[in-house]
């Protein structure tokens, strides 16, 4: 199908990109271009300002036609960025795209070295290696796989909810898997949201119900992904649905069982309210929990412990929904794409003991205050200290576990804004004097600076300085029975002691504890802080390095709700794959050359995908191409050299090595090219 342009004699086109000044300021591109022109096999050698631009690509295409080129080498940026672009360009000119090879002279050379001479030398070596390598390139056919239309979404916070609805509304089926008994994530805990101060529940709960009732969404809460196998377009996942001891189909959320529970008083810390209130062994996380289904906590239910409860709950349930014998259920699903939206966790302020969290009762985290200001929270929206008093003064400490060498270096992006929000809400609820202790105010975003301005005028105090400590040790009578915040006010240059009744720690955002397990399960990467790594920060922010696996929301990095929802555009990426219906995979699979295979079977246990089997009749190994993912481990291990890997054949790599190391010109005789 592709022209091979008379492949017997390589006719190589070599192109080096200036990338504006990015490459050309360190690498003498003209010298490299001139040098390449002297190498055997090179028919055309050029340098150009931007190879990836349309005119750059056209240059290649024109040369292919005019000079009958049959091999293309482009020295520019990383192949992870533009290999695809140039392959496509070659293909458009009728050349098989696998006759192309890319040399990385930007990320690997010009951006990391500053000695011009050495960088140019290195660029020449790399160019020479590629030019040697392409002698051995072969035409290959891409592998096409079908994309199953169903989508798995892991995590039902606002990111997962928004993605699920987008995909479901486009007519595709979604499995939404949430670990907690309800969807909603962190947003469900808030009363109001910045910058508009609109009620979180008013925006979120309609979306949560829409998820529950959507015909295209299968919602599995209190569930986790147990296992996932397969590849883009064809993933098989096992979902573990933990037992709630209540039949989800039958329960209508009347809550009669909770009322009837043998415990008349709630006794156990309520997880959703972060322990600020109590719940019974049978409970529902919060009134608008979705699904509206109760669950048992076997750790505290008497019947689970002693089997001697009167089971008044069962009697109370008219629909016979309670099933104390329920066990975990495993669902097997097949999906084409996956969106991971597992969100974040907040920093544990016990790790910064100077703020007294866990020791001084009236030191709270911001998340706890979110519950306290919430009308449906543990105090019905009353902001009170642990002894039930309305605080007269409150200090909000920013950047707890953010921008700090000792904890987390990054800025958590949302804390300044939510601290302003909380300052306003606390003032509104209590009339207290509110002090914000900040390092820098960071309020970039539409309407955000205006939000800050508004509260400055509202009378909230702003003190610039990192708080040294929070203490209950009074030095003067005004500090008796108070928490004193000791801080250097860097605007006036004095150390101040400010007594308050309540301290709020604006804790930063961190990766979830199990982020690493999730990353391994889905075969994606993390950046150094532990948030999931996107394929490219600008060009592919929701893609990962694994095709068909996308990330959305705060699991990729700290984000506020508007940005999270924007990122739930991961859904669009999944949809575009689904509507294409198929995806082309790199043909870098391995094959056995039967005539050389000795049948030793050493390759068989090496393959993690069980792609290699043994043909008993002819006593030879056989690789199932559909299962092979192209790692090349078997190739490297085969003692008789009878396995080859497309695009990474032995002679291709050997020629690359030789190209890198031979200082003298390459002898033409060396190119004994075997052609398919």
């Amino acid at each position: 199908m592709y022209s091979t342009n008379g492949n017997n004699i390589p006719r190589i086109g070599f192109y080096i990109c200036h990338c504006g000044h990015n490459i050309a300021s360190i690498v003498d591109v003209v010298e490299v271009q001139k040098y390449a022109a002297t190498l055997p096999g090179v028919t055309v050698s050029r340098d150009y300002k931007y190879m990836c631009s349309d005119p750059g690509q056209e240059l290649i295409q024109q040369d292919i036609k005019e000079h009958n080129l049959n091999r293309i080498v482009v020295a520019s940026c990383s192949p992870l960025l533009h290999e695809h672009t140039f392959r496509l360009a070659a293909e458009k000119a009728g050349l098989n795209p696998y006759y192309f090879h890319m040399v990385n002279v930007r990320e690997n050379v010009s951006w990391v070295h500053d000695n011009k001479e050495q960088a140019t030398e290195k660029a020449k070596d790399l160019a020479r290696a590629a030019i040697k390598r392409v002698f051995f390139h072969k035409p290959l056919e891409k592998k096409t796989v079908q994309i199953k239309p169903d989508v798995l979404i892991v995590g039902g916070g606002i990111a997962g909810i928004h993605s699920a609805l987008t995909i479901a509304n486009a007519g595709k089926h979604v499995y939404l898997v949430e670990r907690e008994p309800t969807i909603g994530g962190h947003m469900a805990m808030f009363d109001k949201t910045f910058p508009t101060l609109d009620c979180a529940a008013c925006i979120l709960t309609p979306k949560m119900s829409a998820v529950k009732s959507h015909p295209n969404i299968t919602l599995w809460t209190y569930s986790e992904v147990e296992k996932i196998d397969g590849f883009v377009g064809n993933y098989k996942a096992t979902i573990k649905r933990k037992p709630r001891y209540v039949n989800e189909e039958l329960c209508v959320g009347c809550l009669d069982c909770i009322e009837a529970c043998i415990y008349k008083e709630a006794k156990y810390p309520d997880e959703f309210n972060l322990g600020l209130s109590k719940r019974k062994p049978i409970y529902i996380p919060f009134p608008q929990a979705t699904p509206q289904v109760v669950l048992f906590d076997p750790e505290t239910c008497i019947d689970f412990k002693s089997h001697r409860c009167k089971k008044t709950c069962i009697e109370a349930c008219e629909r016979n929904a309670i099933d104390l014998k329920q066990t975990a259920k495993f669902e097997e699903i097949e999906v084409g794409t996956v969106i991971i939206s597992t969100g974040f966790k907040t920093y544990d302020p016990k790790l910064s003991p100077q703020y007294g969290y866990g020791k001084l009762p009236n030191v709270y985290t911001s998340l706890e205050i979110e519950r306290l200001v919430n009308a449906s929270g543990p105090t019905a929206g009353e902001v009170v200290t642990r002894d039930g008093k309305k605080p007269e003064s409150v200090g909000i400490i920013h950047c707890v576990g953010s921008r700090d060498e000792k904890s987390n270096k990054w800025c958590s992006r949302v804390c300044c804004m939510y601290s302003l929000k909380l300052a306003h809400l606390i003032k509104e609820h209590t009339g207290a004097e509110v002090y914000n202790f900040y390092i820098d105010m960071r309020t970039p975003g539409k309407g955000y600076e205006e939000f800050y301005d508004k509260f400055m005028n509202e009378g909230v105090h702003f003190i610039r300085g990192r708080v040294a400590e929070v203490t209950d040790w009074a030095l003067v009578p005004e500090e008796e029975n108070k928490l004193t915040i000791r801080v250097e006010d860097t605007l006036i240059g004095v150390v101040r002691r400010i007594p308050v009744d309540m301290v709020v720690l604006s804790v930063g955002l961190e990766p979830r504890e199990d982020a690493s397990e999730i990353r391994r399960m889905f075969n994606i990467s993390c950046s150094s802080e532990g948030f999931f790594l996107e394929r490219h920060p600008k060009l592919a922010p929701v893609n990962t390095f694994t095709d068909g696996i996308f990330i959305a929301g705060a699991c990729q990095g700290p984000k506020d709700i508007p940005d999270t929802v924007a990122q739930a555009g991961a859904a669009a990426e999944a949809l575009s794959l689904i509507s294409a219906g198929k995806i082309e995979l790199e043909p870098n699979t391995a094959q056995v050359i039967e005539k050389y295979c000795s049948g030793c079977k050493s390759c068989i246990p090496l393959c993690p995908y069980t792609a290699i089997s043994f043909k008993e009749d002819i006593k030879k190994a056989y690789i199932n191409e559909a299962l092979c993912k192209g790692c090349g481990t078997c190739v490297a291990a085969c003692p008789s050299g009878s396995i080859t890997q497309n695009m990474f054949e032995d002679e291709q790599i050997f020629s690359e090595i030789e190209g890198l190391l031979k200082f003298a010109g390459i002898e033409l005789e060396e190119k004994e090219v075997e052609h398919a």
Binding site: L80, E107, W111, S525, T633, A636, Q645, L661
Partner: protein
């Protein structure tokens, strides 16, 4: 072209897996970290693809060091290719030792996609160590041995030696 009259510089060939270490090297680039220009990277899909023959060939072709970079244990894009590499590497190291190739000349490092800094520090460290060891010069040694063999051959059997030449 490096000609012999120039000051000797260590030449190191690196094999980086596509998913972790190659990406980390890209990150080092994007972060504009500066490191020694002595390493030339060959990209492979997985460190499991690195055949011991490649490493021997690199040394035989005149390099002074080989660096292999893969994902951290448990993180290989293909689950366990890096582990297979590690096993091979252990065996190979013993063999290299016997051949008189110092340990610091062949190095296996786990560098994740996030560790651009580590690419820099490993490369700088390795270049320094190899610089201290000096040139390996296997091709020269081989040609010397070849010459010696030829001389011996000539002594033993002058007629045949001429035929060979």
């Amino acid at each position: 072209m490096l000609s012999s009259d120039k000051k000797w510089e260590p030449r190191i060939i690196a094999f980086f897996c596509n998913w972790c270490t190659y990406t980390a090297a890209d990150l080092a680039g994007v972060s504009r970290l500066k490191y020694a220009p002595n390493v030339r990277v060959i990209r492979v899909m997985c460190s499991g693809r690195v055949d011991p023959q490649f490493i021997l060939h690199v040394f035989a072709s005149g390099a002074d060091g080989v660096l292999i970079g893969g994902c951290h244990p448990g993180d290989c894009h293909y689950s366990e290719g890096n582990y297979k590499m590690l096993r091979r590497f252990m065996l190979l190291k013993r063999m290299l030792k016997k051949m008189g190739i110092e340990e610091d000349r062949c190095r296996l490092e786990w560098i994740s996609a996030a560790e651009g800094e580590k690419v820099k520090s490993v490369i700088n460290d390795m270049v320094e160590k190899v610089r201290k060891l000096g040139p390996l010069g296997i091709p020269k040694r081989i040609s010397k041995i070849d010459k010696e063999i030829k001389i011996i051959e000539k002594e033993i059997n002058p007629e045949e030696a001429v035929e060979h030449a």
